[in-house]
């Protein structure tokens, strides 16, 4: 973990457009250290785009994403992201984790740290298997092991269990909890209400590219403030 914290993260008046389509507009919130923030909303709400903007994979059309530290090298190194469909490099499970460590500059510690990370996600027995031959759930755990290994201060997860069965989903959620318990701040998108209830201590509810609610998970699920959020929780279709 970096000695100088990069949190809180301040998102101010964030907007993102592509061509004539406005994907996100007027998004403002803060992410505090140690939180488990779930970005919730129906498909097409702009959740994944918001995550990519926070992580720096996309450039905002307007507004800003500000970390507590201005040093780009520092705040880039202190965050990691797990994608809905993680890219497995064409090499072994262990080498995938070691690659992440090596590009992070932890060359000498890579073998030991990779072993520890794989043990943590329960994949040490598959360390030598080609990563691309692993199941979807195992690949997602390899992606989490990569994130675990580099010890980010903030971990972004973009619908990490979207295409997984319940058993694999449980394993992923347990790993996320373990990563959070170690002190990593979690920011995760999902459209799965049950998952949001299990993980979130705070919810950002997006609809049509706008931030409709930014509140604690308890309040969001018990007393949603907007009709859109209330309808979403009731399981009604939003479009």
């Amino acid at each position: 973990m970096a000695s100088a914290t990069i949190l809180p993260l301040s998102v101010e008046s964030l907007a993102f457009s592509t061509g004539d389509v406005t994907v996100l507009s007027e998004i403002s919130f803060r992410v505090e250290a140690g939180s488990r923030t779930i970005v919730l909303g129906p498909n097409g709400a702009g959740k994944s785009v918001l995550l990519r903007l926070m992580h720096g994979l996309l450039t905002p059309s307007s507004g800003s994403v500000r970390w507590a530290q201005n040093d780009e090298a520092l705040f880039r190194k202190a965050q990691a992201m797990v994608f809905q469909r993680p890219v497995m490099l064409r090499r072994s499970v262990r080498d995938n984790v070691e690659f992440a460590l090596r590009v992070a500059g932890n060359e000498s510690a890579a073998p030991a740290a990779a072993t520890q990370a794989l043990e943590q996600v329960g994949l040490l027995h598959l360390a030598d298997r080609p990563a691309r031959l692993c199941s979807g759930g195992e690949q997602q755990r390899v992606a989490l092991a990569r994130a675990w290994a580099i010890q980010p201060e903030v971990l972004f997860l973009d619908e990490p269990t979207a295409s997984l069965d319940p058993a694999a989903t449980k394993a992923i959620e347990e790993t996320i909890s373990a990563i959070h318990a170690r002190g990593t701040t979690i920011v995760m998108t999902t459209h799965d209400l049950g998952q949001a209830r299990r993980i979130a201590d705070r919810v950002l509810f997006l609809h049509h590219g706008r931030l409709i609610e930014d509140t604690s998970a308890d309040i969001f699920f018990q007393q949603p403030q907007s009709p859109e959020a209330a309808a979403f929780i009731r399981g009604e279709l939003l479009w």
Partner: protein, 234 residues
């Protein structure tokens, strides 16, 4: 028809008896084209990877020129290398003209655009898939290039094979810079041209058959290794 049949029969006898002349010419062909492919790949694969990832004004123009150079006429390349290596040329002092080294240089230059252009396309396609993951991991340009080159190695082997096919089959460039000197710079294609012009069709045909069989076998072996490796590594 009979003449063709006789030619095939004699050709087969030459191949079956490991005719010394045939073996020497075949070995030199393999050596020259093999070294040319290695040298060209050493430069063209990283260049293709760099071009796939780089963004600069005029990039599309560079890609268009590179793609266009895939069809470089061998005789023009041969002439260019000839002018460079000839006694009066800027590299004349090296004394490489009419040596296998000159043939390697000519073939490497000829196939560099093929390997680089195909590698650029393969790696650019892979970059679309890998970009977010590698950027997220904070991999720098060089680390991205190396990761992509390694991960696309099975597909890139096809690009290298395309280069080898072009090198071993071309005649114009090696004829000009090698001079088709018996026992020194005579390779299969130049020998075929010479024997045909002399009317010795059996030897020309034998060389032609060996050339085709060799290229097919090398491609089969490479394809087999590629398929097995992909099955093993995913």
């Amino acid at each position: 028809m009979n003449e063709l049949g006789d030619s095939f029969r004699i050709a087969w006898q030459l191949v079956a008896s490991f005719d010394a002349n045939l073996v020497a010419i075949t070995a030199l062909s393999l050596r020259v084209s093999g070294v040319a492919v290695l040298a060209a790949s050493f430069l063209a694969l990283p260049f293709g990877a760099w071009l796939a990832l780089a963004r600069f004004p005029g990039r599309q123009g560079v890609i268009a020129v590179l793609n266009g150079m895939m069809g470089l006429p061998p005789v023009v390349v041969g002439l260019l290398i000839y002018l460079l290596l000839s006694r009066a040329g800027p590299l004349g002092a090296l004394g490489l003209l009419f040596t296998p080294a000159a043939m390697v240089i000519a073939q490497a230059l000829l196939i560099f655009p093929i390997i680089a252009a195909l590698a650029r396309q393969v790696i650019e396609d892979a970059w679309g898939e890998y970009r977010e993951q590698l950027v997220s991991l904070n991999a720098n340009r060089s680390q991205c290039m190396r990761a992509l080159l390694w991960d696309t190695r099975f597909t890139l082997s096809t690009s290298v094979l395309a280069g080898f096919g072009r090198a071993i089959a071309e005649v114009g460039a090696v004829m000009i810079v090698g001079g088709n000197i018996d026992g020194v710079t005579r390779v299969m294609t130049t020998a075929i041209a010479l024997e045909t012009s002399k009317g010795d069709l059996p030897l020309a045909l034998a060389l032609g058959v060996v050339l085709i069989v060799m290229v097919v076998l090398i491609n089969l072996a490479a394809q087999s290794i590629k398929t097995t490796s992909m099955r093993k590594h995913g």
